[in-house]
Point group: C2
Chain length 231, copies 2
């Protein structure tokens, strides 16, 4: 059991919709190695914390943690040569920040389009891509939209978030019906003022639930009966 020891870092791909695009939070490295390239926030794991605690601590230094609506583990990146110098293993996380949260960012930190990244440090581009893919997959069978959208929104506003995140057209009509059928949306009773060009004012909604819920589990091999689930 005398196995070697390795450095361990925690990295977070924090995604959010900003200016109509799906973006990831990156900071520009001021020092070698990879000076001038853009990196994911994160850093070394401390002796007294587990990786979940660590990622939240590290994010708190970039973003007010209360603004991060969802955090989940992606996977381990462990190529021996993934970084120069002493070997470091990384546990990668996906974080999501709603678009009405506008955290004050340090000067070296900015949101970059996840589909058009600037030159990135180490293997961080692969981590960002894996975060993007995880988000896209989960949007379609969970209520994860709550972590991208603002607290309150109109259906067409929500639709734009889904379009930006998924990268393909989404029908507002059917989006509303799917989310309503599954009881994910609740009307607030308010309406949003119509724009400069007129038009009927939109009803305002919020998500009924702001924690992750799988809505399509066991689509095929569903456990029998479960009477009462449909409400």
């Amino acid at each position: 059991m005398t196995s070697p020891a390795f450095g361990h870092e925690v990295l977070a791909a924090v995604l959010g919709i900003r200016d109509g695009r799906l973006r990831v939070l990156l900071w520009e490295r001021a020092r070698d190695p990879d000076r001038g390239r853009w990196a994911l926030p994160g850093g070394g794991l401390r002796a007294d914390e587990d990786v979940e605690t660590s990622v939240r601590r590290q994010l708190a230094e970039k973003v007010d943690v209360r603004e991060v609506a969802h955090v989940e583990q992606l996977s381990v990146f462990s190529d021996p040569d993934r970084t120069p110098g002493p070997r470091t293993i990384a546990t990668a996380f996906l974080g999501l920040v709603p678009s009405d949260a506008d955290p004050v960012l340090p000067a070296d930190t900015a949101w970059h389009p996840v589909d058009a990244l600037p030159p990135t440090a180490f293997d961080h581009a692969a981590i960002a891509a894996s975060a993007r893919d995880r988000l896209r997959a989960k949007l379609s069978y969970t209520n994860l939209g709550f972590a991208l959208a603002p607290r309150e929104f109109t259906i067409s506003g929500l639709r734009e978030h889904y379009v930006a995140a998924l990268g393909h057209p989404v029908s507002a009509t059917n989006l509303q019906r799917v989310l309503t059928r599954r009881d994910l949306l609740a009307p607030t009773g308010e309406t949003a003022p119509s724009g400069r060009a007129g038009g009927r004012p939109a009803a305002v909604f919020r998500f009924t639930d702001r924690t992750l819920r799988v809505t399509d589990a066991f689509a095929v091999l569903r456990p029998p009966a479960q009477a009462g689930t449909a409400s």
Copy 2:
């Protein structure tokens, strides 16, 4: 960047259907700590390998690797006190062995029902539970059955595998239709002899594909068109 270094181990929850139950491969610890308790196979990460390479190497010592039909990463277990002694972080994997593979096992190693584990070492019970849950979820929206079932099987034989893995009844009629509709099954043309009590001989099938395929992605927010996918 002078963060501390930690031991890193790789652990595999190898699941398979044995004697009609979903079981996990465990070995009995002969030494303290946790002597006499049952542990998942695995061990320290070497300096020149990544975690995926490592888990396959470690499994080769217990099971002929060619018999492991599927391996995937679960998550990191990193509680500072998860093991006594110097801190060790674990990357946990799910491995699946088809029921027609019968690897020769070392004397200290045995298959145990995953829903009725013997006393387990460290946090290994939680890892086994997370492997079981991952398997159950993926069975319902992927072709992952190929990694549990034998190479060739009858529908009712396959049904028993799903029942054992999921823990709830599954209809053979509908199982066949669902898997056929998605082109996951191919008839071999052979039939299996009927049992002592008679009955029509069953047709023999195999999975068309023996690598993981997601069959239900984007059930809700499906990308538009994709002409020709249905074939």
